[in-house]
């Protein structure tokens, strides 16, 4: 079941990318209010992705800025729904846990999406920066070795992609878009923090990921047990097959524009 309700599409929406139109219709059907400016921003995002070539790599992308759980749970690419668990606040800039406990289950795993250790990309838009106390913004198999997790505990602890671990020593933890992926052409793995002024901090690891990705579901906001939940908002999250480092830069620019235009806010 998803929100692909073609019979709810507006007849005056011609000229809009069909995937953008379907997402907008799904958000409205779920209770979101989408202004003309927001529709244009969403349409531009889809069109840019298709022109630049990264749209086909996207597998799940969430823009939880609609202040309604059903709308926030909708994936922009598949129109499938995630499931929020626990005490989650749905605010204009994104979603966050109101207490220590809560998460969103994407209801899928990476293997089902065609995402493997040799072709992956994660992106996380943090409008207020990281919550450095004890938080796990996204994870597969929680914090366990050979899982996938990004973890703050009294400051940044690590980004783990199964057997490869980034130190994140370059991070500012300011409001940003954080990404990580593999670049098979460059032959490395990267971990980036893109700030609103365009500055990109980056850490690279030569080589590849050696250990296959776990088959557990992908969780956002907290771990599978609704623990280590984010008290700072997540404005957008996506998971994709491989983006080259150059595609990553183009994608994060488009994601920043999408979030800023649809929220009317700026990454400070």
């Amino acid at each position: 079941m998803n929100y692909s309700l073609s019979n709810m599409l507006s007849s005056n929406a011609s000229g809009i990318d069909p995937d953008a139109r379907a997402y907008i219709a799904a958000v409205v059907a779920a209770g979101g209010t989408v202004s003309g400016t927001q529709k244009n921003a969403i349409n531009t995002f889809y069109e840019t992705g298709k022109t630049d070539g990264w749209y086909s790599s996207l597998k799940r992308i969430y823009l939880p800025i609609w202040a309604v759980a059903a709308a926030n749970a909708i994936c922009m690419k598949s129109l499938t729904s995630g499931t929020f668990n626990g005490s989650i606040l749905h605010e204009a800039k994104g979603v966050r846990a109101s207490s220590t406990f809560g998460n969103m289950n994407t209801n899928t795993n990476l293997g089902s999406l065609g995402i493997t250790k040799d072709s992956y990309h994660f992106a996380l838009l943090l409008p207020e920066g990281a919550e450095e106390g004890f938080s796990l913004p996204f994870s597969v198999n929680d914090l366990y070795v050979n899982g996938i997790s990004i973890f703050w505990n009294d400051g940044f602890s690590f980004l783990r992609i199964t057997n490869r671990v980034f130190s994140g020593s370059f991070l500012t933890n300011l409001p940003s878009i954080i990404t990580t992926g593999n670049d098979s052409v460059a032959g490395n793995l990267y971990f980036k923090e893109r700030l609103s002024n365009g500055f990109e901090g980056v850490e690279t690891l030569d080589g590849i990921v050696g250990t296959a990705f776990p088959s557990n579901n992908l969780f956002i906001l907290g771990d599978s047990g609704q623990q280590a939940s984010m008290g700072a908002p997540i404005g957008a999250f996506s998971v994709s097959t491989e983006f080259s480092s150059a595609q990553d830069t183009a994608y994060t620019a488009a994601l920043k524009t999408l979030w800023e235009t649809t929220t009317g806010l700026t990454l400070p």
């Binding site: 779920a30 759980a69 059903a70 499931t83 626990g86 989650i88 914090l143």
Partner: protein, 101 residues
Amino acid sequence: MIGFVTTQEQADAANAAIAKAQTDRGYPVFWLAGSNLILSGEHAGQHFVPCDDAILSTPLIGNPPQTPQDFPEFTTIIESMGGLDARIDIPAADITSPQEP
């Protein structure tokens, strides 16, 4: 942490009923109250179903958004756990896993 202390079976039943209220209306399951095993303290070994003000006022769906309290099934679920007055406040530390990375 405000909510209900109950058995795993009742916590699972409560969340299954919340899920059913959504699927019965043709929706995907986009929201659950969730539950946690209580690891320490007076209620260790039981399960905790959160039910604080944020849960009760969650904007679920629609415009204007309906909250859990707008669904009659939710009232039934609350009553099955003893009603809102049966909620208690337990320390978050009782639920927090000591799991280390």
